[in-house]
């Protein structure tokens, strides 16, 4: 970090997402490390909470709009907004602007925020154009394409490209990597049996790859799949891709017991 670039560093606002904030802080730290290693200045505004998607997908646009307003105000002054989740990034990028149909000023601010919002791996590859070097992860992994990352944010090759730079890692594609895992936010608690059938199909598909680790870029999907893998007694480890890319995959995997420290 001794070399200072001639221009001001790119200032990134990290929207950690509520699931990362509440359940898995190391995804936030890993995301920040990846961005800092790539030369960005990273800020984590305290005024962030949830992106508002649970309300939005339940048809509660008034609450979604109130939350969106707070998020826009907290993040609009950064050069970029980076989100370690395709789903929450998709909410900021594709759904915020439509929430302000009768408020041209806020709609314009929402569009401006949308224009600089990126999913983490897409930002690293497409905007910063960085490669991963000097990181190792011994083992075979498989990658789940979360629906919003894939279909709203166009994330497919970027995580694979980054994983290709990780020493010792081999990627085994699952046949149904693009099929929904059955999480769907509130869907999984509203329709638990249907969600259960979907995640079971997903777990079978993951097991078929023989990979020891399942990675993805969305914590909601990962918690759903980890939860079912554990319940079925399957030892596949589950992690957010940022943990592996940042070389921070040494702690317990998602839902795994804490390791005893010496």
């Amino acid at each position: 970090m001794s070399e200072k670039p001639a221009t001001l560093p790119t200032h990134v606002g990290l929207f950690a997402t509520c699931l990362v904030d509440l359940t898995r802080p190391q995804v936030g730290f890993a995301s920040a490390k990846l961005l800092q290693d790539a030369g960005c200045q990273v800020s984590v505004p305290k005024a962030q909470t949830c992106c508002g998607q649970p309300a939005y997908n339940a048809g509660d646009n008034a609450d979604a709009r109130a939350i969106a307003t707070k998020t826009i105000k907290a993040f609009e002054n950064f050069d970029y907004v980076v989100v370690p989740s395709g789903s929450c990034a998709g909410m900021l990028k594709h759904h915020y602007p439509g929430l302000f149909g009768d408020d041209p000023d806020m709609a314009a601010r929402a569009r401006s925020l949308a224009a600089k919002t990126h999913e983490l791996t897409a930002f690293l590859v497409d905007v910063l154009k960085v490669e991963v070097t000097g990181v190792a992860f011994d083992g075979t992994v498989t990658y789940h394409d979360s629906c919003s990352a894939l279909r709203e944010m166009g994330v497919k090759r970027q995580p694979r490209r980054l994983l290709a730079g990780v020493g010792g890692l081999s990627l085994k594609e699952a046949k149904e990597s693009e099929t929904c895992c059955g999480f769907g936010g509130l869907f999984c608690v509203k329709y638990p049996e249907i969600s259960g059938r979907m995640v079971d199909a997903k777990v079978d598909d993951i097991v078929d790859t023989g990979a020891g680790t399942l990675l993805s870029g969305d914590l909601g999907c990962l918690m759903n799949m980890a939860g079912r893998l554990h319940r079925r007694g399957i030892a596949t480890e589950v992690r957010h891709i940022a943990e592996v890319l940042a070389g921070m995959a040494d702690g317990p995997a998602i839902g795994a017991a804490e390791k005893k420290t010496d």
């Binding site: 984590v44 309300a55 997908n57 109130a66 979907m198 839902g255």
Partner: protein, 477 residues
């Protein structure tokens, strides 16, 4: 038919417990989606054709009155008649009247989803006219008195053993020792019965995949050829179609045919693509003497210009069903009415009322696969959300769900309060997990923990740790 869409949850639970249905749905998953993918790959201009198909349908919906009147004028010129029907009841009455005028005892039918929508078979039966379905799948479910479970493969939910049992029960002349193990044998058994029905029918009732304004033609797509025998052998041909089936020209119809079969089954073209224009002309060797088009609205013009306008582009290919992880989990009957899958979840509330189909727009993860494969690029997830918004505004969302959302939204809107409670909650949960990393049970989250463990929080929130650790980098708050 009577809708059971209001009982979606119960229907779905029943379906999930049905091992034979699961086998059938597994076969579907392995077939149509893979075939569609290959068909799309073989045709470099497939994506461009989808855009064209979308634009054709979009243009029609913007100018629907013009094309409908042009279509009627061409039908009349060709010697046919168009019957405009606002409601399902009007269409039923019109069809029955035409059958009675023809002195019909039996009516052969080729598969028509609009026929299912208006429950025409029950109506004809009730008035002493025997309807005979001639599409194999539709024939099977007619014998079983079931609704279709898929818009292009109506009997996809059945195994061949179940079909053999149905034939043995319903075909009185079927010899007990006749083998029916192979699909071929089932087909021949049905064909033997249907041949006689084709010849004996007084009226042929078909649907239409498209109506062509330029020529007054109706377009029928099948893989079995049954529609051709249905329309050409009886003295009277009745076409039953909803009004959004219109396309401007023959050229437009061929564009849509090119995406239709590829999206539906992965075929480049369906086996039979039949264009019917008016009754038999002088010098024609065969064809019906009368040609009627029953043009049905049934709520569709109410959708024009509104949030569900784009749904009227649908060409009923079934791709959204074939690719939907919910459909593939519960099958078509769980949706409780004639349509199913994502297109059904958007359309059914429009046709039978939101209050009678509350779960349908909610039972989706909004994964977006349906929109990805839709040949006319209908934004199905956006419309599922539009229904949810209407339900929320009409206070049809459950009290518990509303209270939960308000609670969450209140905290999400007050970051400082959120921080305090978040840290208290994750700290408590972390202690409660005692280092095991997950929970097997959790109050209020039974929906989650019945089938899954719940990963435990790490003990401190990311934001408190970040700002605890790095006060110097906490700018821009």
């Amino acid at each position: 038919m009577e809708s059971t869409a209001a009982n979606f949850k119960e229907n779905a639970l029943g379906a999930l417990g049905d091992a034979r249905l699961r086998d059938a749905l597994d076969k579907l998953s392995g077939g149509f989606p893979e075939n569609r993918r290959k068909a799309a790959e073989r045709l470099p201009e497939f994506e461009a054709l989808r855009d064209q198909a979308r634009d054709i349908k979009h243009h029609v919906l913007e100018n629907l009155d013009h094309y409908l009147e042009a279509f009627e004028a061409r039908v009349v010129e060709a010697g046919g008649t168009v019957h405009w029907c606002r409601t399902a009841a009007e269409a039923r009455t019109t069809i029955l009247r035409l059958c009675k005028q023809a002195g019909a005892k039996t009516v052969t039918k080729s598969k028509s989803m609009i026929g299912e929508e208006i429950a025409i078979n029950e109506h004809l039966e009730h008035h002493g006219v025997e309807p005979v379905e001639t599409d194999l799948g539709e024939y099977i479910i007619q014998l079983r008195r079931e609704p279709p479970s898929h818009i292009i493969a109506p009997a996809i939910h059945l195994s061949k053993e179940q079909i053999a049992d149905t034939f043995r029960e319903k075909h009185r002349d079927l010899l007990a020792d006749r083998p029916l193990e192979e699909p071929r044998a089932l087909l021949e058994e049905a064909r033997g019965i249907l041949r006689e029905k084709f010849v004996a029918a007084d009226v042929g009732l078909t649907g239409a995949n498209m109506l062509i304004a330029e020529t007054g033609s109706t377009v029928l797509v099948t893989n079995e050829g049954n529609a051709d025998l249905t329309y050409s052998l009886p003295r009277v041909h009745i076409v039953l179609a909803s009004l959004e089936k219109i396309v401007p020209t023959l050229e437009d119809a061929t564009t849509i045919l090119r995406v239709l079969a590829r999206s539906a089954t992965g075929q480049e073209m369906s086996v039979y693509n039949t264009f019917c224009t008016g009754p038999k002309r002088p010098g024609d060797l065969d064809g019906p003497e009368e040609f009627h088009v029953v043009l049905l609205d049934n709520g569709r013009t109410d959708m024009l210009g509104g949030e569900f306008h784009d749904m009227l582009r649908c060409i009923r290919c079934g791709a959204c069903l074939n690719h939907c992880p919910i459909y593939k989990s519960v099958g078509g009957h769980a949706y409780g009415w004639v349509y199913s899958g994502p297109m059904g979840a958007v359309l059914i509330p429009n046709l039978i009322g939101m209050e009678n189909a509350h779960d349908l727009p909610n039972a989706s993860t909004l994964c977006g696969k349906c929109e990805e494969v839709c040949p006319v690029r209908i934004p199905l997830p956006r419309m599922l959300r539009a229904w949810r918004k209407r339900q929320f505004e009409a206070q049809n969302t459950s009290k518990a769900a509303r209270a939960g959302l308000r609670f969450w939204a209140f905290f999400a809107g007050q970051p400082w309060l959120y921080r305090i409670f978040a840290n208290l909650a994750v700290g408590a949960l972390h202690k409660l997990s005692r280092g095991r990393g997950r929970f097997r049970r959790m109050a209020f989250l039974g929906g989650w923990t019945t089938l899954r463990d719940l990963p435990a929080p790490a003990g401190k929130t990311f934001i408190s740790q970040w700002h605890g650790k790095k006060p110097s980098e906490s700018g821009h708050e």
